[in-house]
């Protein structure tokens, strides 16, 4: 396999309702990433686009609708889709385009326009439930998370306040992100614990907001990267894995599928001690307890110990292992697939020392990002190393 470089990233503002259409957002994010890479659309061989359910934008076959804003016309172009996992799976798909030798310069786009569905994207999410077994009970999407969070907390004896601290960390981190939807410099654990109870134990401020947004990356072969860029991060490892269809058959306490994806990526990246060899992490954090779940799945701490890492200060930007320095989905926003910008994009900016006020203090050489999705049972993992 050939070495693959990331040489540019871009993203739009994440916001509840942007004036731009999906394809206009794609064009904005793609233009930023191409500018940073020092390339133009003419240089691009192939385009990979990721976007979650068509039902959000309200356009069936939205990959084709977004095509022109993604710069894919008259080029080998494909859309990939693994639900929320798309955010890290799309750069993985771009990686294999180049690692295989098929392409040298790939533009990677992720888009979501969740405000098209109203009054709330919940009505689209509702259709992911099994039509025969679950939907007659009129489930709310938050149910599934609430039951998983309850099981996780009960099994490990974790206090709600120790999980709320993660929402506080990420929303405060987001203050330094120019694209953030829900930054809050003054938020406290009490604010989270006093927010509206949606489905116990999930409260309003435990959840990331639905957003509109797009993000982009430019990936190239080693030869191209060394010729055009001084700001290179190498893709060192990729992994993905999915658990059983029926969530009633899964382990709700430990995301084994994330651990399997992480092991695949770490093996490729020659990482045998992730806690020592990884310096910055962006696990998927649509809920505060999911950051804990995924930190454990990424094998960055023992089972049930993720909340205490934040309590001890390890996961802050000046800690030993900064986690979600971008501000995460909780703070910057959650335009499903487009969160690539705060996962793979953030790791790229952190490793190349371009994260500005968000820059972590431990001079990171290796970073990992992860996304989670499909029917709440999919993990995608990407490891990068600074050039």
């Amino acid at each position: 396999m050939r070495k693959v470089a990331c040489i540019g990233a871009g993203m739009t503002l994440f916001w509840r309702r942007l004036q731009e259409t999906g394809k206009e957002m794609c064009w904005e994010a793609a233009s930023m990433a191409l500018d940073q890479a020092g390339l133009t659309l003419k240089d691009i061989d192939m385009v990979v686009l990721g976007s979650a359910p068509d039902a959000f934008d309200g356009i069936h076959m939205k990959g084709e609708n977004l095509l022109d804003g993604a710069g894919g016309a008259k080029k080998p172009y494909m859309r990939v889709f693994t639900g929320g996992g798309t955010a890290v799976f799309t750069p993985i798909a771009a990686w294999w385009h180049i690692a295989s030798g098929l392409a040298n310069k790939v533009l990677v786009l992720c888009e979501e326009k969740m405000s098209s569905v109203f009054p709330h994207p919940q009505s689209a999410f509702g259709h992911i439930w099994d039509p025969i077994l679950d939907r007659p009970l009129k489930p709310n999407l938050v149910w599934i998370f609430a039951m998983e969070m309850n099981r996780y907390m009960t099994k490990h004896g974790i206090k709600k306040e120790d999980i709320a601290r993660i929402a506080v960390k990420n929303k405060r981190n987001a203050v330094d992100h120019p694209c953030a939807q829900l930054p809050d410099p003054n938020i406290t654990v009490e604010d989270v614990l006093n927010s509206e109870v949606m489905a116990w134990p999930v409260q309003r401020l435990d959840i990331s907001p639905p957003s509109d947004g797009a993000s982009a990356l430019v990936k190239t072969s080693e030869k191209v990267a060394k010729k055009v860029s001084d700001d290179i991060a190498w893709v060192e490892g990729t992994g993905w894995c999915i658990d059983k269809t029926m969530w009633t058959c899964r382990d709700l306490v430990f995301p084994e599928y994330v651990a399997r994806a992480a092991k695949q990526a770490y093996r490729m990246a020659k990482i045998d001690n992730p806690r020592k060899q990884i310096h910055v992490a962006e696990p998927y954090d649509p809920f505060d307890y999911k950051e804990c779940h995924h930190t454990e799945g990424l094998l960055l701490c023992d089972k049930g110990k993720a909340p205490s890492m934040t309590k001890e200060g390890i996961t802050y930007r000046d800690g030993d292992l900064p986690i979600c320095p971008s501000g995460g989905l909780l703070g910057v926003g959650n335009p499903i697939a487009a969160t690539m910008g705060i996962k793979a994009g953030e790791i790229y900016w952190q490793l190349t020392q371009q994260a500005g006020k968000r820059q972590v203090k431990n001079d990171p050489e290796v970073g990992v990002c992860q996304a989670w999705g499909d029917l709440m049972q999919y993990g995608s993992v990407l490891v990068m190393r600074r050039g």
Partner: protein, 154 residues
């Protein structure tokens, strides 16, 4: 570019209302047909068992997802299960507050793979992980062969 023009008003920008009209009729499938008819006619909750792995799947599948054998034997899993986890819902699908909180949970049954998600007729302050609950079926003449033939677990 309009990057920094933020609005919370859904109608602030020029827009066009539309919808994606489609209605659906879903098959319950080979395993579903048997599961729901047994529930309706005999008032029993049944799982499908793999002849090779010996695992009993609930909800039942036509095939074993581990070894891909066809599941031929059906087992009555009983009506009593254990609450693996639960939640108490306070808001509806569009975020509207519910008049009464709804308690629901994942119920596991002895010697089966999986379980059922259902409403629990237990008071929010009484529900606990690990508690035993029993399926409360609707009277036979009201049963239609759907998951709602089970009124609740409690």
């Amino acid at each position: 570019m309009t990057f920094l023009e933020r609005s919370r008003d859904p109608e602030a920008h020029k827009h066009w209302y539309g919808d994606m009209e489609a209605s659906y009729l879903y098959s319950t499938g080979i395993a579903g047909e048997k599961f729901f008819s047994t529930l309706r006619d005999k008032g029993k909750i049944t799982g499908a068992s793999c002849p090779k792995c010996r695992k009993v799947f609930l909800p039942p599948r036509m095939y074993c997802e581990i070894c891909f054998s066809e599941t031929k034997n059906w087992k009555d899993v009983g009506k009593e299960g254990t609450v693996e986890t639960y939640s108490v819902g306070y808001v509806g699908i569009d975020g509207e507050p519910l008049d009464e909180p709804v308690v629901y949970g994942l119920i596991r049954f002895p010697r089966t793979e999986g379980g059922l998600v259902h409403v629990l007729s237990v008071k929010p302050e009484k529900v606990k992980i690990g508690m035993k609950v029993k399926a409360k079926l609707k009277p036979k003449k009201e049963r239609k062969g759907s998951i709602l033939d089970i009124a609740s677990f409690g």
